[in-house]
Every structure is written in structure tokens, then in C-alpha cells.
Amino acid sequence: MKNVSKSFIFILLVVFLCSTTIFGAPQKTTVSILAGISTTDDGIQDIITAAVAKKYPEISLQWEIHEWSDNFHPRMQQYIQTGLPDIIIGKAQDVATYGGQGLLAGLNGKSYLDNILDAAVPGVTIDGEIYGMVYNCLYQGVYYNRKMFTENGLEVPATHAELADVIRKLRAQGITPFATHMVDTWSIGNVVMQFAINDVFAQTPDWGDRFRAGKVSFATSPEYKKCYEYMKLLYDNTWTRETFSLPQIDCDTRMVLGQAAMKVSGSWSIQNFLTIDEDYDFGIFPFPNQSGDAKLIFEPNMTFMKSATTKNSAAVDKVFAVITGDKEAAVEFYNLSRTASMLKGVSPTFPNPSQKDIDKYAAEGKLIDANLGNNQLQWGGFQDENAKDIASWLQEMITLDEALKAADSRRANSKP
């Protein structure tokens, strides 16, 4: 009995181990994709696979999907050692990080680039060569509860004096002015960068380069110090006890339920808002800056890149052509992720209460690209580490000066 069962297990092992060679035998052209996405983008793989299968059934897509902020970059690091996949899907800022190392293929001259809005091109161009194809974009700013504002006779603030007034009136009504979830360090980093875009980079677009050249620093820059202080303003006017313990969805729920009036965030929150209450009426405005001329921030988001060493270049081009050409698929994705389009002539059809605000700012030419900041100061290793220092400062573990000096100490890591 024992011998029989032993040999049975042995045979089973052999069979299983042999079957590893059978799997993975290529049948059609297989294009490998590494995707770093946000949770709100989940579903992109089904949409694109279906679109490609319709037009080019001989191309099969092999997906590997990771969360952009946690797992995408380690995977990139690994593949850089051993060979990148054919297509890489990341954020527009990844072009600056990886394009500069010769890892991405230039896309100049490809016909499918004509489908993309011109506004999307500068952020993914290095030395005149385009390295990425931007698919959608997010808007970032202060989301506010329109009904609450109207009921309390509040106007959208354009200066800090007006903002202080709004905060005062909300507090008088017992409403928490700002909804925050500072347990997510990335949220702190994102919010501070939003402030910096309108207070630092709008005036000095090459602030990052000057910083690295030693001409400016966080400790001596009154503008950046102001941005940090805005963070304190938020912290003092939110659920201070809970914010370092409150996951994003709980924060958004509280906001929809009327416990807070404003949230400094981006389009990724729309999906949550509308899932909790599809009739939630919200708007968006840019957080006021010192000069009272803050612009609404748009962030070119999901970006398709091609590996410089791909062996399936023609197939990748076909896939890119489908992605930019299939308008139905694009609309389906924009509706799913509640984001804005970067394709010419394509608009999402989901009801977006903040669309009228976006259109207003767009008509007035008051839009500004988030990558103005993100392409000057690296996110990973710099912005996110600074965010931790800000959190430490808000928790009164270090002083504001120490937090600013700590940012300066990371100068070497700030280059994207």
C-alpha cells in the first residue's frame, strides 16, 4: 500500500512537472503588457482585449496588472534587468523616469498619434521625441458639495481671504470644512503638489532644475513653505483625530453623507462619490493661491509606452492604433473609470456633475498641466518621502523647518 501510494504521488509529480513545458507554447503573436493602474481603472484589460480581438484576432495580449503606487515600479525594476514587456502602461510621469534611460521606443511619425489631443503631447516628449500615448486625464482640485454651498450662501473662493470666510461659515454650521484621509501618504503628497503647481511651478516652471542647481531650496522658499502651511490649514479644519486612520472610501462616504463640504482630490474620487450616491451633486474649483489666479489642474494619466527592445514592434503599433481608433472602447473606459478623454473627438457619457465647472475653466483658458510639477520633482523617493515628513510635522514629531530641511536633504533624489 505504502509503495503504491508513494509511486502514485511520484507519477503525479512527474506529470505535473512535465505539463509546465506544455503551457506557454506560442500560438499567435503574443504581445506582453505590464500595466500599472489605479483601482478605478480596473476593467481596462477586458475592454482593450475585446477591442484588439475584434480587429486583429491574430494578436493575443498577455496582461500583467499591478497597482501603480505599490507594485508597478518594483516590477519595472525587475524587468529592466531582464527585458521589458512589449507594452508598458503607466502614468505620464513614467515617461520622464524611464524614457530618459533609453528604455522606451520613440513614437514620432506614427499615424495613431494624430488621434491624441495636442495638450497631451508636451508632458511625454523628451528632446523632441514622443515616448508615450496619453489615453485619459484626471482633473485635480477641490471637490465641493454644491448643494451645501448653495444652502449656506457660499461662493466658490478664488482667494485665501474668501476661503477663510467659507471655512468660518461652515464651522459655524457645525460642518467639517475639509474631508481628508491622511493615512494615505500619497494623498498628502498629491495635495501638496496641487498647491505647489499653482504657487510655485506656475510662476517658476523650472523650479525643480533650480532646486537641483542649488539656486532655490525648500527651507528658503517662502512659496513652498506656504504650500506646507496650507496642509496645516487642511489638518486644522478636518476630522483631525481620525484623518490618519481613515481609509479613502470611508472619507468619501462621510463627504457624500454631508459631514464635510470640500475635498482636495482628483477624478479618482468621482467613482466613489457616484457609487455611494448617484445623485450626489459636486463641483470642482482650484485651491486658491497667493496671487488669486489659480488654475484648474489636469493630469494626463494613463499612458501607453512601447519598449525600445520589443520584438513585436509592428504588432504593438497595431494595438496602439486600435486603442486610439476604437472610440466605443474609449468611451466605455472613460465611463468606467470616470475620467476625461485625451482622444480627439471622444467624450465620456457618464453624468459628471463637475463637468460644467471643468468646461468653464477650460473656456477661460484656466487649465494647468500637473506634470509641470511632476516632471520637475520625482514622485517616488522624493515627493512621497516629503509627504511623510509633512505627516510627521502635523503629528508634532518634527518642526516645519525640520520638514523643509529634510526635503532639501533629498536633493539628489528629486530628479525624475
Binding site: 525594476q77 529592466i80 493615512v183 483625530r241 481620525e242 517616488g380 518621502e385 505627516a391 510627521s392 533624489n413
Partner: protein
């Protein structure tokens, strides 16, 4: 005489061949990467670029002036010390209780053990929500105002993590103590009872010495596990608020990847392994002396 020696040699080779496969796998899978990391620790490689330069022991020097590494280290040590004390005492306590003739021992055993079957990532995820959603709801139910938001402040985040980690692992160590308790022969207790010793004395002079092997396993296990803590932080505090709950492995991982300083990260890893070894050796030499053979 000669024949015996050659047989012995042949036998020895056979024994050696039994060890060989495991040895090879272990070396290639763990030791070689460790040596590779040691090599990288002497460079300034950022993990991305195809080239890097040799910088000698510069990374190691940097570690001693790196305030963030020191902060992470302090936190890890605090966590380890508290954890070792609390987890051991509670696991032993529960084991002693379960070993006495109470009903439903198997149910208690299962309930206390099941938490360790969850991965640390899930444990962190669940406890963040326990502290921020579920437990505060008790306040409205009971009309109290206890602060359950332990992950929300740098002062209480250690307590929160201790609770989450102990919930996960107490059952595991308790089973080891339980088995150890059950292997102590009853005759020893009975003869002690005849001599008129109290429960406390019985515990000190019979139970504790015979528990020594289990104590060794548990103490060393809990200490090394606590020092290596990483996954629990990923889905709960993310090392925060700020850096208040960043463990040393979390710091290494962050520096090596997002910080794009794989060389420096490797150096910290090598130092960390040395310290782990030192700690374990110290503990083993102290604890092994107290073990008693049955």
C-alpha cells in the same frame, strides 16, 4: 580495518547525498542572492541603470548617520521587545488555561489559532478597518467615547500594531506551549502534590524548566519574526503617520525601490542580517543553558 573505513566512507557519501539536494536549493535560492546583495551593497547602484560604480563601505557609513534608518530601527526594537514579552506571556497563559480541565478546549484552540492562517497583508487591512470603523461603532452602541483610532496618532500606533500582531500570532505559539505542557508527565505533578507544594511552586520548579525547549523556540521565533515585520504595515499604516511605524525592513524596501537606491538598501539588509544573527545567538546561548533533558 580497511574495509570498515571504506564502508564508512561510502555510507558517509550516502548520508551526504541526502543532504545535498536541500543544500543546493537553499544555497542557490537564499545564500547566493544574499551574497549578490552584499556585492551590491558596496556599490551605488540605483536598481535601474545598467551601470554602477564601486564605492566600498560608503553605504555602511551612511547608515550610521541616517536618521530615518535609526528611527526605523528604534521603532522595530520597541515593537520587538513589547511583542516578545506580551506574546510569550499570553500564549503561555492561554496554554496553561487550555491545559486545565475546561470544556470546549478544541473550540478555543481553533478560534485562537485561525488568525495566523490569514496573511499579514490581510491582517493589516482588516485591523485598519476594525480600528477606524467597527470598534468606534461600539462607542455609539455602548454610549462610550473610547479612542479606538490607534493607527491615527504617532503615540498610539505602536499599541495598535501590537494588538493586530498579537491577534494574529498568539494562537500559533500557544499551540507549541500547549503541546509542551501536555508532554510533561503527570507523575511529576502527583509526586509534588504529595510533597505538598503549592501551584505556584509547581509551576516554577516543574513546569517552567521542562518548558524550556518550547520557550526557546517561541522566544527566538517571536523575536526574529517581529524584527522582520513588513507586510503588516503595508495595508494598515503604510509606515505612518509620517514615519512613526516604519520598520527597518519597510525602510529598506522603500529606499531600495521608490528611493531607487538598491545599493544602500542592500547595505542596510546586510547589517540587519548581522544584527538578527547576533540577537538570536545571544538568546539561544542564554536560553539553551536552562533547558532540561527529560
Amino acid at each position: 580495518m580497511l574495509r570498515k573505513k571504506s564502508i564508512n566512507r561510502f555510507e558517509k557519501l550516502q548520508y551526504f547525498s541526502l543532504v545535498l539536494p536541500g543544500l543546493i536549493l537553499f544555497t542557490i535560492g537564499l545564500i547566493v542572492p544574499m551574497l549578490l546583495s552584499f556585492g551590491y551593497s558596496l556599490t551605488d547602484w540605483n536598481g535601474l541603470a545598467p551601470t554602477f560604480s564601486y564605492i566600498g563601505l560608503e553605504n555602511y557609513r551612511r547608515f550610521f548617520s541616517d536618521t530615518f534608518a535609526t528611527q526605523a530601527w528604534n521603532f522595530t526594537i520597541k515593537f520587538t521587545i513589547w511583542n516578545t514579552i506580551i506574546q510569550n506571556i499570553l500564549a503561555l497563559l492561554f496554554a496553561v488555561v487550555l491545559n486545565s480541565a475546561i470544556k470546549g478546549e478544541e473550540i478555543y484552540r481553533t478560534i485562537l489559532f485561525v488568525p495566523c492562517l490569514f496573511s499579514a497583508i490581510i491582517v493589516g487591512f482588516v485591523w485598519l478597518r476594525m480600528f477606524s470603523n467597527v470598534l468606534p461603532a461600539l462607542n455609539s452602541l455602548l454610549g462610550t467615547d473610547i479612542n479606538f483610532l490607534l493607527f491615527g496618532s504617532a503615540k498610539t500606533v505602536l499599541t495598535g500594531l501590537l494588538i493586530a500582531n498579537n491577534w494574529q500570532w498568539i494562537g500559533y505559539w500557544m499551540l507549541i506551549y500547549l503541546a509542551a505542557l501536555q508532554s510533561i508527565p503527570n507523575e511529576l505533578y502527583e509526586s509534588a502534590a504529595i510533597d505538598g507544594t503549592t501551584t505556584l511552586q509547581k509551576f516554577r520548579h516543574i513546569t517552567l524548566p521542562l518548558l524550556a525547549p518550547a520557550l526557546t523556540i517561541c522566544i527566538v521565533g517571536i523575536t526574529t519574526g517581529s524584527l522582520k515585520m513588513y507586510e503588516l504595515l503595508v495595508t494598515s499604516t503604510g509606515g505612518g503617520p509620517g514615519r512613526a511605524s516604519t520598520s527597518i525592513v519597510y525602510h529598506i524596501y522603500n529606499t531600495a525601490i521608490s528611493g531607487r537606491q538598491y545599493g544602500y538598501g542592500s547595505a542596510v539588509t546586510v547589517l540587519f542580517v548581522f544584527i538578527l544573527l547576533l540577537v538570536a545567538l545571544l538568546q539561544l546561548s542564554v536560553l539553551r543553558k536552562r533547558e532540561v533533558q527529560l
